[in-house]
Symmetry: C2
Subunit: 638 residues, 2 copies
């Protein structure tokens, strides 16, 4: 079903300033500091079996277990991020750290292949008795992604072999055959990892098991989680309360092909849909593809923050109802936006349609990137769209899932820039890359030069070894009000189809494509069904959504500022805000509610005055890097 | 320290339409339906000991125990409310129901006097091992209040004697003496109940124990809750996690006289402060009074919703930080506003200062009364100040504390109208009452006639048996922009002091005081430190705060409406909204954000239009009685 396939990131060199800076930060600071945190918080110790369980560094969760149940996954994600770093540049120290972890896992692995340090260290007899709540497959999935990445970066197969042994064990216990458990995990993740492994090894058993898990999910009666609970009761194993007492939480309320509403835990949902889209492509499964499209439309039409944040509610870490997008209490977990990028990329390769790339880009530059601080060692787990000035980035989190999700994303971001097919190259993102792609039977050197995302002035140099005819597809972002294309200096006029402008010609060494995407600061309005945003406006320029932060708008909380509809939006490149980093801000004449004269009065009949003011807006992803300040994305209109 | 004392409610006949209707509803519908619910939900069964614990009708709480731990208190509060009903009119059926409950408690009571059905029915050996979390004194306090009310209404002493036996047992276990536990309950309540009992019996041991509890609270090290936990550990009793892991939650973070910030669980805080104010008056304790005043100022200056709702956060059911008053997620538990009324009444009787009566009135007509439906059988536990149209009143609640708090309040509301002293009568609330008060050595018949709270046109008839000189103090509400007073038709001019206008003369039979408090619909603004309300306005008329509800503002969610600052506010009496009940609405010309033309678009650059509209506002307490609709208290200004 797929025509275009992504050009994977080790083959895409990042040369543009924007991503170079983020990548360098992640490689130099984030990934090393994350290993340190894994040590400090006892997560690495928890792999050293057999031994008494490490002291619990965190209070027990209200639901009766500790965060340790997820710790294998955090190690897996760190290995994945660290392996992406190795793919950029081998590093003996990182490799030694990974090898030490692999040593621990190798020692921990049970003779039959089972490998989950939480169960092995604490209650090995209870393994595979509570997939609903306890994440064994989720952990396995992340460990597997780490193993694949490590193998791809280094050629070392030991870790991957350990994981293959574990999978073989899982395949003896779970599956459709009589006598096996007919089940799946409450937290999806292994499905997409198995498809990655299938791509690597071409061993169809992994694809088969991923297919099984996707097909089994949500079938009832009996519902697997009920059958599992009954079995626990028969065995006298404590039946803990369902962490969240409905099947929607884990997208297991009905078979996946019948699902038409995005529900439940946002990260779980995104991982599931990613795997569904992957599998639809692998199997040519139109019903599965259709379900993905219906779910995509549901989230896009009614459930996504303007920042591509997903999941308004901390209660279920996920979705609630249509148009419920509160700003100050937005959960919008970093992981959910990262996972939306995964899903969007899969959808994009089912159909080369710019709507998917638009969301991939939106999530990347806003909801996902906002999770990582400028210094690369502080994080947001939740990404609210408004703050009273009490939100600060954390240097770690009790559940550190988001930290490594953002590092593995940035470390592999090159893989989202372009795709190749037999007869073409498609450019999705811009920002300065070089690569070489096999197209139309020749190797094509590609260089894309731009100051994107700050400027839409893009130059692409193509150098096929031999002149060949093929498509060059240029994404025209949904935010672009206009665009122009030149080939070797000559204007080309045509209309983009599905968000891509296609140039088909015989390309020769030294051909140059120039794409101009004028970036205009503009206003965005929300559907008034989003009651929280009625009478409010947000600002956008290029791929960035903007916010007002107190640091740039002194004199009171930014909530005091109103933006008249007629006020001109002025974009300005500023290098003084973040130690030389050039940033395009948006400023405008505004109105400010007068803050003075209240003393200790809480309510009064005398109205506050208004005064003229100026507002300055900053790309959302940069907020909360200069101390704590109030912040709004949706500004009241004057 | 007290000069004026409240005239208690059985002596104050409600004759005005407003309270007559609410009282009749509570007597005829609320109190009987609550007894039915106590039966349906297994709460009454839970008293029938010894027997196996009743099946758990509710899921276990995340914190490991069920709501049953509070059930004695719910029974106690129902007995209190039902006894207030009996004080209005004896009723054999209600008395039989109460007697049946007393039979159960009598059978359940342990030989040593201990009486808590949750512990006696489940784990009697663990009694008094976890006051931090498990509410034994809290339950005892509510049972005691019920017993006092029942005795006062009927003269039956059996139930009160049972409770006195239980208290005597408590006094042998807890106290300052060596060998006793030095402790208090995590949920305050018994303190104020003990002072009520002292007032009834004049037995100083009850006042002494209340004093002990107030004085002991927050002393450390060792903190009682730590000492108690250590004792549990020594005995091998499960040490459950602190329901909310800080001492502020239960106002036990420091000795009460040192407390200067309102913190923690809102209802706990209000019950504590009520008892503190009571005790300050009993003991003439200036330090305790000062602490009450400092805490009062803190909540008034920075932590109270405009509706007198308290406690913004569901997380701790309580307070967070200064000016944190989110509207849609406001917790503002009904119980907290009811308890604020208790506290305000105690403060008012420490100092006859209108600021306390103003808040008593505000809480009564808004944050408390909003907890009860028109039909008297549906409730709000949380009282948000904005709704997207999904909030509905419940016919019962897993934790039904608020249901009986509002019924006991309404059933005894006459007790808040006026106070008497040796030399005077003070009128706090108006609305149509008659009573007889002993003043200046004579009995004074009092009749207050008005259509308050809808109109401020008030007539008071005074009929002393013999002519006597005494003060008549008329509260001039803080909301009144002007007022006028006539005595026997002749205007009297003077200034009120501390919110009361004092008339001192020789009063004779047939004297008439006329008080006019013009009620004007007006705008209220919040201190801009309340960031949620910047650029917004709320409406008030007399004691009522208003809201916009969808039922009166069709055409889209009320969040679409903006109120221009210059728009005239028009008050209108409407009898068509609630089946003949006269209600004063406020209407004004407004601006509405156009709702059309969006289809499935979530965000767009094209701004929505605005159109002229009219808005209609309704007293807040009446919302959510006509189906589910959107609602706002704080309306954006155009």
């Amino acid at each position: 079903m797929r025509k275009y396939a992504p050009v994977s990131f080790p083959d895409v060199r990042l040369e543009g300033d924007f991503w170079r800076e983020r990548l360098d930060t992640v490689l130099a600071r984030t990934i090393p500091s994350q290993h340190k945190k894994l040590g400090e918080y006892g997560i690495l110790d928890s792999l050293k079996l057999p031994q008494p369980p490490p002291p619990l560094r965190f209070p027990r969760h209200a639901n009766g277990f500790t965060v340790q149940v997820f710790w294998d996954s955090d190690v897996g994600k760190w290995i994945e991020a660290a392996s992406y770093a190795l793919a950029h540049r081998r590093d003996a120290d990182i490799e030694a750290k990974i090898e030490a972890i692999v040593d621990d896992f190798e020692k921990a692995q049970a003779p039959d292949g089972y490998l989950n340090c939480w169960y092995l260290g604490r209650e090995p007899e209870k393994r595979f008795t509570n997939l609903r709540d306890n994440h064994e497959f989720y952990n396995a999935g992340h460990l597997l992604e780490g193993a694949i990445a490590y193998f791809q970066a280094t050629g070392r197969r030991r870790w991957l072999s350990i994981m293959e042994r574990y999978l073989d064990h899982i395949y003896t216990v779970f599956g459709s055959e009589a006598g096996k458990k007919h089940g799946y995990d409450g937290h999806e993740e292994i499905e997409l990892a198995l498809i990655k492994l299938y791509h690597l090894t071409k061993d169809s058993k992994h694809l088969d098991f991923a297919t099984y898990l996707i097909n089994e999910r949500g079938h009832q009666p009996p519902h697997f989680f009920d059958a599992e609970r009954e079995e626990r009761e028969e065995k006298g194993i404590d039946t803990q309360r369902y962490v969240f007492p409905n099947y929607e939480y884990s997208q297991s309320h009905k078979p996946v092909r019948e699902q038409d509403k995005v529900v439940g835990h946002a990260v779980r949902a995104m991982y599931l849909y990613t795997a569904m889209a992957d599998l639809a492509a692998e199997l040519g499964d139109e019903a599965l593809k259709h379900a993905c499209e219906v779910l995509w439309k549901d989230v896009m039409d009614t459930k996504m923050y303007v920042t591509a944040g997903l999941g308004p509610s901390a209660h279920n870490e996920g979705f609630t109802w249509d148009y419920d997008l509160p700003n100050e209490t937005a959960y919008a977990e970093t992981c959910a936006s990262v996972a939306l990028i995964f899903w969007a990329q899969r959808m994009l390769h089912l159909d080369l349609d710019g709507q998917y790339a638009d969301i991939l880009e939106l999530a990347l530059f806003n909801g996902a990137l906002s999770g990582l601080s400028r210094d690369g060692t502080h994080y947001f787990y939740a990404n609210p769209l408004e703050s009273d000035g009490r939100d600060t980035r954390w240097d770690w989190h009790t559940c550190p899932c988001c930290t490594m999700n953002v590092s593995r994303l940035v470390a592999s971001v090159g893989g989202y820039f372009l795709s190749a097919a037999e007869d073409g190259i498609a450019f999705h993102l811009y920002g300065g890359i070089s690569t070489s792609v096999g197209v139309a039977g020749t190797e094509v050197g590609v260089r894309e030069i731009s100051n994107y995302p700050w400027s839409g002035d893009i130059r692409i140099e193509l150098s096929p070894e031999t002149p060949k005819a093929f498509d060059v597809k240029l994404r025209i972002p949904g935010w672009a009000k206009s665009f122009s294309v030149k080939v070797n200096g000559e204007a080309v006029s045509a209309q983009p189809a599905n968000g891509y402008f296609t140039l088909n010609r015989i390309w020769s060494k030294g051909d140059v494509v120039e794409l101009d995407l004028p970036m205009v600061a503009e206003r965005l309005y929300a559907n008034p069904s989003v009651k929280m945003d009625i009478g409010r406006v947000s600002l956008r320029r290029g791929p960035f959504v903007y916010c007002l932060e107190g640091a740039d708008n002194p004199g009171g909380p930014v909530q005091r500022l109103k933006l008249p509809r007629a006020a001109e939006l002025k974009a300005q490149t500023r290098s003084d805000l973040f130690g030389g980093l050039p940033v395009v801000t948006i400023s405008a004449d505004a109105v400010a509610i007068d803050q003075g004269g209240w003393e200790k009065t809480l309510y009064r009949t005398d109205p506050p005055g208004q005064e003229k003011a100026t507002l300055t807006a900053l790309p959302y992803y940069l907020w909360a890097n200069r101390g704590t300040h109030s912040m709004v994305v949706w500004v009241p209109e004057a």
